[in-house]
Subunit: 236 residues, 2 copies
């Protein structure tokens, strides 16, 4: 927890925030060994970053006086289209991509996504938000990514995706494509990444028909969570 | 398991390999649904890649006729000096860096590494080798990385590290350094990465005194496993 992230529900008045979440209270005591008077990095979900001075701490809550005066780090200019990973990998991937600065994430069904993944409790709004917040706290950021679900491939790619591509470079990462992944882009990018086992050829064709350029990261086949981080680090 | 990795103990004769490991046998049956006659990607630890045709499969073993005729993918020209991560993160990090093509890894003690991590069963040769093999099987590679342990910072940096730096570019990744991490290097690199919480200033100074250049990945603070993947993907 490199940042204590408050939301508007935690606000006592213009300057004071009240942290009541037992997990973060324990972290404050047991990892930070915080005592009244300590100053810590704080932020407001959707708002600014700053410093918080701990006023009081007991079993039920901690009160901070906060000064929020800095902008969070710049987001990555990317819309990530990710085939829904298996639940445990989803949790970690949400944290990685949030920490890296992704603000738009679409979780997509493709042929090689197991249908049961869509029933996982990891897809509940509470669980998703939990992992996104962990990613923000890790990276000292405050803006939650917007996560959408597309459990049907064809309606998404035919009816909704085309409207989101204007003015963006569109890339599909897939082993065996012709071009190596470009480096250091500054333009907005829509990046599609397949599931374990990859996209099927029909899916690659559908993306290509919309103008997606196929890119690869070399001969090595990477796990989805490794590939996502590697692609984002290389692209931006 | 994108690759079935044999070692010399599995060899029956010049062309036949005998897989007996129960975990991989189960994977072969339950994930690949393999039956005699199927062809799968195979490799020999430390050797070539190729194809294996399944001859027989029962509860005690599988026999493959193999043709090993391709070189594994090129290694990354990097010597990674990594502050020992906490045990669960170590396991995943070993898999990530092996899949990415790291062949020299030194796990190092630094001030902010908890001493108890050095007692973890995850550091046993069997566990380390297990995670390295998983990384190789993931990426379809055959050459195991060489992993060394340096549980004392000072003797390592004073007595052993200098001899390994000749002809290499040396980088230390640390938040707040002056330069952003370079991209697309082709020269050999020695890359030092700190623990959660980072190197302490004294450690950064010791690396700098040996000619390490400080580099950063931006304002965001990343978990070690994310940072390692992001740095390697950006550097090479």
């Amino acid at each position: 927890m490199n940042l204590i992230l408050f939301d508007d529900n935690d606000r006592l008045d213009a300057q004071r925030m009240h942290l009541r979440d037992p997990v973060r209270l324990r972290h404050l005591r047991e990892v930070h060994h915080a005592t009244p008077g300590d100053e810590l990095s704080v932020g407001l979900v959707g708002g600014a970053l700053g410093r918080g001075r701990l006023q009081s701490l007991d079993d039920t809550g901690a009160i901070f006086t906060v000064t929020l005066d800095r902008e969070p780090p710049a987001p990555l200019p990317v819309h990530l289209l990710l085939a829904l990973p298996r639940p445990r990998m989803l949790a970690r991937t949400l944290e990685h991509v949030t920490a890296l600065g992704v603000k738009r994430l679409t979780l997509l069904h493709t042929r090689r996504v197991e249908k049961s993944y869509w029933q996982s409790p990891e897809l509940s709004p509470e669980k998703i938000r939990h992992h996104l917040r962990l990613g923000l706290e890790q990276a000292r950021d405050t803006h939650l990514p917007c996560v959408t679900f597309e459990p049907r491939f064809k309606p998404f790619i035919e009816d909704r995706l085309p409207a989101h591509l204007s003015g963006r470079r569109a890339l599909i990462a897939h082993p065996g494509m012709a071009t190596t992944c470009p480096r250091g882009l500054e333009e907005p990018v829509t990046l599609a990444i397949g599931p374990e086992g990859g996209f099927v050829p029909y899916e690659v064709e559908r993306f290509e028909a919309l103008g997606f350029e196929g890119v690869h990261l070399g001969e090595r086949i990477l796990r989805v969570e490794t590939a996502v981080t590697a692609l984002l680090a290389r692209l931006f």
